[in-house]
């Protein structure tokens, strides 16, 4: 037992001794250490920033895809009577989907119909593109508002319909404060006054006036000829891992509700269904390659300085060997000095990357068009730290081997 305790105490003093020795080296040679670590810190900052920026870019692309094709897994429902050559009646299909989603506990589904309505503004009457949807649509297609709110359950029963308009139409209205409950006149038969409850960003390229209406309001307000020609699309949002079995069950349930003769199709239509590979892979490879090159240059700089330093420290290493430092201790000490130093440089690099990416100016710049701006990814910080330690170990290996090969007395007389 006492032998084990002795061995433990010896190991403890060896480890603490190596740490004390390494710290002493760093303290004594701080200028050299600082110089050698600037490159590493910058390279780690670049690498970490690239990984974090990649995360933000990936989120931006994902959100853009989710706005156009829905969030995974988005199922589109379609029912067609091939004998009669026509789609299933809207009301019946709607009821069938409502029934089927309730049966399988699916919380989100929505119709989507594109149409247009005339809007009376003080400057004249305008044709406004209208997308008629259900309440769940905003969650399903990541519809973001810049002011006001999306449709609520109360909006489905109100007499004056709620309308969510784009910024172009809001500007044409005179940019009113939504707290004042601004209205918009929808002339026609029957005409009505709609209350503007929300404003969403305008499409910069098109600059057209657009709006969202609840499907029930649109069906009430749209001209009959438009309604006849406009078949709604139906979407059901389900968990991605259950999309295959649910597709089949929904198809069977809807077909049964509609009765015979209808060919019901339930297909996944979100981007994740047809995208086999990461769309950002080429970008990730390119940026990763650039960061890797930076890191390589930083590591080479560190290696060069470390090798030169070992040559400079030959005498010092010889003196330590003469006082009982074993070859292993010298190796460990030189390695640890490098690893501790690059780990510190890594932390500095990560801090620089966080400062560069998370300050208000750059956050505003890089997160344009992204609603869920991802936080600074922990994975990027961990990667930065692991890489910095690995670089320290690699850059320290060669000098440590050189240090071990030094012949003490020759070194002392160097």
């Amino acid at each position: 037992m006492s032998r084990i305790a002795e061995a433990g105490a010896a190991l403890g003093s060896t480890v603490v001794g190596a740490v004390v020795e390494g710290w002493g080296e760093l303290r004594t040679h701080r200028t050299r250490v600082l110089l050698s670590l600037i490159g590493v810190a910058l390279a780690i900052a670049a690498l970490t920033s690239v990984v974090a920026l990649g995360g933000i870019a990936r989120q931006s692309i994902t959100e853009s895809q989710e706005r156009s094709s829905g969030r995974p897994a988005m199922l589109s429902v379609y029912a067609f009577d091939s004998v009669a050559g026509q789609n299933a009646p809207d009301e019946r299909l709607r009821e069938a989907i409502d029934e089927a989603t309730a049966k399988y506990g699916i919380e989100h589904w929505s119709s989507q119909t594109w149409g247009s309505l005339r809007v009376q503004l003080t400057t004249g009457a305008y044709e406004v593109s209208v997308t008629a949807v259900d309440r769940d649509f905003a969650d399903m297609f990541r519809t973001e508002l810049e002011r006001g709110r999306w449709f609520s359950a109360r909006d489905e029963t109100r007499l004056a319909p709620a309308i969510v308009i784009n910024r172009t139409l809001w500007a044409a209205l005179g940019s009113p404060d939504l707290a004042t409950h601004p209205t918009i006149e929808l002339p026609g038969d029957p005409g009505t006054i709609a209350e503007v409850v929300g404003v969403y960003p305008a499409n910069v390229e098109w600059g057209s006036m657009e709006a969202y209406l609840l499907g029930s309001d649109y069906r009430r307000l749209a001209p009959q000829d438009q309604l006849l020609g406009n078949t709604p699309n139906y979407f059901v949002w389900v968990p991605p891992e259950l999309s295959d079995p649910l597709s089949e069950r929904l198809r069977a349930s809807i077909a049964q509700s509609l009765g015979g003769g209808y060919d019901v199709q339930v297909n996944r239509q979100d981007y994740a269904a047809w995208q086999d590979s990461d769309p950002l892979l080429p970008l990730t490879i390119m940026l990763g390659g650039a960061a890797g090159l930076l890191l390589l240059l930083g590591a080479l700089g560190l290696l060069t300085i470390s090798l030169v330093t070992v040559r400079y420290r030959i005498q010092e290493i010889g003196i330590k060997r003469s006082f009982g430092a074993t070859a292993g201790r010298v190796f460990f000490s030189v390695m640890m000095e490098s690893v501790v130093a690059t780990a510190v440089a890594g932390v500095v690099g990560i801090a620089l990357a966080i400062l560069a990416l998370k300050n208000p100016w750059s956050t505003e710049l890089i997160s344009q068009g992204v609603s869920d701006v991802p936080g600074f990814p922990v994975s990027a910080a961990v990667l930065g730290l692991v890489v910095s330690i690995a670089v320290g170990a690699l850059a320290g290996l060669m000098p440590a081997l050189v240090a071990v090969r030094i012949k003490p007395i020759d070194a002392i007389r160097y």
Binding site: S13, G17, T28, E316, R321, T326, I412
Partner: protein, 234 residues
């Protein structure tokens, strides 16, 4: 049993042209506890090689080196390093203090390779050692702030801080003036006597060599007793 014993030690090196050169030839030497030895010889006579072998930094090509009666070949590289750290204290001509470290840090350096109390109390032990060599007021001084004599005192404190059984002094007064050199040798003798350590001094200086009880002369790798060596190296 002696601390170290060399029996017919030969050290040969291979030259770049493929030929070999005997640096030491059949050296016999025993070092006992408390011994005072001096070895004089001209440059190139093999003094450094003998010092390396005595300090377990080099091994004989032929012959035996016994460490506490154990042949060197039986000791692993790590064990040799540990014995060197524990039992041997080096003093160099050029002091070889670690630059950028204070006197206290320099003296505490050998204790970084110790374990137990000497390791954990290294600063206190180092301070006491510096006190013993008369540098209690210079603990935080850097080598560049010390005179040659003071630097050699720090080097002596460093060599003795782990209580070695053998002190190897390589030209300990070579970089000092005559008076300072004499004072240093007196100090070295005093602290070695106090600790019971053997002192082996390698020197060019016959006057320094005369201070030792056992005197040897190294000539072309051959070690021989020298009753009176004054003038031998001049």
């Amino acid at each position: 049993m002696g601390i170290l014993e060399l029996r017919g030690v030969t050290r040969t090196v291979e030259l770049p042209d493929g030929s070999s050169l005997d640096i030491l030839r059949g050296v016999d030497l025993a070092v006992e506890a408390g011994d005072r030895l001096s070895i004089v010889g001209r440059s190139g006579s093999g003094k450094s090689t003998l010092l390396n072998i005595l300090g377990l930094l080099d091994a004989p090509t032929a012959g035996d080196l016994l460490v506490d009666g154990v042949p060197l070949a039986r000791l692993s590289s790590g064990e040799r390093d540990r014995r060197r750290g524990r039992d041997v204290g080096f003093i160099f001509q050029q002091f070889n203090l670690l630059p950028g470290r204070t006197a206290l840090e320099n003296v505490a350096t050998p204790l970084l390779y110790a374990s137990g109390k000497p390791f954990w109390r290294r600063e206190r032990i180092a301070a006491e050692m510096l006190e013993r060599v008369g540098l209690g007021a210079r603990l935080t001084s850097l080598p560049s702030q010390l005179s040659g004599g003071e630097q050699q005192r720090v080097a002596i404190a460093r060599a003795l801080v782990r209580g070695p059984r053998l002190i190897l002094a390589d030209e300990p007064t070579g970089a000092l003036d005559v008076d300072t050199g004499a004072a240093i040798m007196a100090l070295l003798d005093e602290v070695a006597t106090a600790s019971g350590a053997a002192l082996v001094t390698i020197t060019h200086d016959p006057d320094i060599a005369e201070l030792a009880a056992r005197r040897f002369r190294l000539d072309r790798g051959v070690l021989s007793p020298a009753a009176a060596v004054a003038g031998a190296a001049r």
